[in-house]
Each structure stands twice: as structure tokens, then as C-alpha cells.
Symmetry: C2
Subunit: 211 residues, 2 copies
């Protein structure tokens, strides 16, 4: 089973790495980071580079496609190389998945038309404008389409997807290996839990990151 | 403020990337991935490479030192290049931190002697043998030493450390940006929560990964 994780300039690292730890741990799996061109790809903060081991044309038919998000997702919504690859890969994929604003890229490729999907809290309206049915949830399964909410939600989605693929026992062992027993020191992980001034600060940071 | 995240062959990606997302988001911070030699460093699964932007000798005095863990941490316990760098960096660091079995490397450098510290559930006994006082907690602060439990615990630790450095409001905004409102699909994240056969499977996987 081949998993292709898409990288593009400005991706958010945890979006990719959270589910990676579950998906790359699946039995008989081959996980590849891919990008338009092979080589290092830089994240949105500019100080982290993950190597794309293959170009998109080298991996046309992965079993699992995973698209991470980014505050600078906008250029990808009209990036025909990426959108064409996603449409072609999706024709034969077993699972087409995203984290955070990665679902906006899937939607821009036309893959979430009328489907229930989620994204980062800041992107829900745009997800609807792009033809999906925005759904408030940590992650959403709609057929073979699996979308996660913002950034860290990819960890929960990755484990859930691992459970669908390899069974609950395997996914639980992966959770234990990751010691995933979260105990956040704060409780401000969603807009409705965060005070208004925290939400304003987060929105300002997103706007600055989007450039 | 300079943060140096140590990479070494076989590191676990989420150990590094979980706290990275909080630490790299600190105001006026400069985050660098470092390794014995600059260039791509491969994780324990062999299919993910993060670029070390600098060699250890180029970053002798970071303000924050972060050591991720790995199932193949053992070679680092006697890697004098890494241990010498850690001891030197620790002389002037504001915070010396680890995730997962990264604390075993800190302990091997002599930095956790008699200190309360934690590590991956599988490494608690060895942490004691290396001179630390093993402490069951998601993360442990002992003076400037901050150690997190296994893999995903680095996310919680990173937010807590961000709060100490930049204040609770900043850390809450970071949590909201990461949409860190965890909802694990299973509840097997610690040995006492996992059924015996899951624990056995996880131990077998760790032994296989350690090689």
C-alpha cells in the first residue's frame, strides 16, 4: 500500500507529520513525501525543510493521498500541476485525505463537491464556497474522503484512518507507541473555547502568515 | 532567542515537530534544526528527511535546546559529539528540553543527575539508571530542564513551555492556531489504559524498531 503525502512551499509541518506517524506505521505500507519537484520543501515559517523523495509524475496512483494545509494555501487553489495530480490520483485512490486547509485544495480540485468535509476553523466558509458541505467535527469521513480540522486534528484523523485500514487493535498499538494521551496545558483549542482577544490574536497571526 | 532542535539518524519526526510548532511561533525567535553535519537527516522509519540547517559547532549557545527521542536512541547515549555539544549548550541555555527518549540522551550527558524527569513509558527504568529521578507525568519542569513523555507529549510540553516564555495568552493563541482540541478515536495512549495484548504488540514493535 502506497501513501503519498503532498508537500508544497509553505505547508504546515504538523499537518503532515501528525497523520504520517500513524500512516507510515501501517503494515506493508510505503510512505512517500511528494512535491512538484523532488528535493527539500520549506514550510510556512521558513525554517523547516522536509525532502520530497519523488515528483508528482513519479507517483501517479498512490493508495492513500494526504494533503496537508497551510496558512498560505491560496496559491495551491490554482496550481494546475497539483490539482491535476490530485484529480488523477483520486481516480484510483482508496483514501483521499487532508488536514487543515488541505481540504480547500481538495475542494479546488473538485473532489469534495457536495461532500461533508471539514477544515481549519478559519476556513469553513471558504470550504462551502468551494462546493463542499462544511461540517464541524474533528475529522469527517464521507466515503473514501477523510478531512481533518486544523493542524493537530490530523493526529486524530490519522489514527482513525489507521483503524479503518488495519483494525482497531493496530491503531491502538500505534496510539500507545505515540503515547497519545493528550493533556493540553490550556483549553483554547477552538474559537468557541478561546476568549475573544485570543481569537483576534490568532486571526491576526493567520492574516500575517498568509501574506 | 535561538532555539536549536537536535536531529540525529533515526529521530522520531513527531517528537521534533510537535513542540516545534509552539517554539517556532514564539515572538522574536529563531529556530534551527541542527545535527552533527548539516544536511538531510533520516527518521527511524527511513522515509522522512528533515534538513539540518547547521552543524552542532555552528550553534554552540542556543537559548533553548530541544532533543527529540527515537526507538533507536541507544547510539546517541555514547555519541561524544552530541553529548559534548549538549553539555556545552546547556551551560548557557535558558531551557534544556527533551521529548520521549530524548531525556535519556540528556541524562547520558549528565544533565539530569538527581532531577525529576520523564520519558517514553518504555524508558522510565533506564532514565533512573542514567541518574534522573523518573517521574510519571505528561511533562516535567525541574528548574530549566523540561522533559516530555512519549512522542505526542511534546505538543503539550511545547505549549506549556511557550506559556512560561511568552505568557499564557500567547500560548493560548498558538493552541488555537493549531486547533489543538484533541479527540483521540481510541483511549490506549498509556500502558495502564491499553489492554495487555496491545501493550505486548507495542513492545514488540519498539524492539523491532530498535534493531
Amino acid at each position: 500500500m502506497q501513501t503519498a503525502i503532498l508537500l508544497y512551499e509553505g505547508f504546515t509541518a504538523l499537518d503532515a507529520i501528525g497523520p504520517y506517524e500513524s500512516l507510515a506505521n501501517l503494515p506493508k505500507s510505503d510512505t512517500l513525501f511528494v512535491a512538484e519537484r523532488p528535493g527539500p520543501v520549506t514550510n510556512e515559517l521558513g525554517n523547516l525543510r522536509i525532502t520530497a523523495e519523488a515528483g508528482l509524475d513519479e507517483v501517479p496512483h498512490p493508495d492513500i493521498v494526504l494533503v496537508p494545509g497551510s496558512p498560505v494555501y491560496a496559491p495551491q487553489l490554482t496550481n494546475t500541476a497539483v490539482l491535476d495530480w490530485l484529480r488523477e490520483a483520486d481516480r484510483t485512490s482508496t483514501w483521499t485525505a487532508s488536514v487543515c486547509t488541505g481540504s480547500l485544495i481538495l475542494a479546488a480540485a473538485g473532489l469534495l463537491e457536495g461532500r461533508r468535509a471539514t477544515t481549519h476553523w478559519s476556513g469553513m466558509a471558504e470550504l462551502g464556497e468551494l462546493g463542499a458541505h462544511p461540517t464541524e467535527a474533528r475529522y469527517v469521513f464521507d466515503g473514501k474522503y477523510v478531512t481533518a480540522a486544523g493542524v493537530s486534528a490530523g493526529i486524530d484523523m490519522g489514527l482513525a484512518l489507521a483503524g479503518r485500514i488495519a483494525g482497531d487493535s493496530h491503531a491502538r498499538a500505534t496510539q500507545l507507541l505515540m503515547q497519545y494521551d493528550p493533556q493540553p496545558p490550556y483549553d483554547a483549542g477552538t474559537p468557541d473555547k478561546a476568549p475573544a482577544e485570543i481569537l483576534a490574536a490568532a486571526r491576526a497571526a493567520l492574516a500575517a502568515a498568509a501574506g
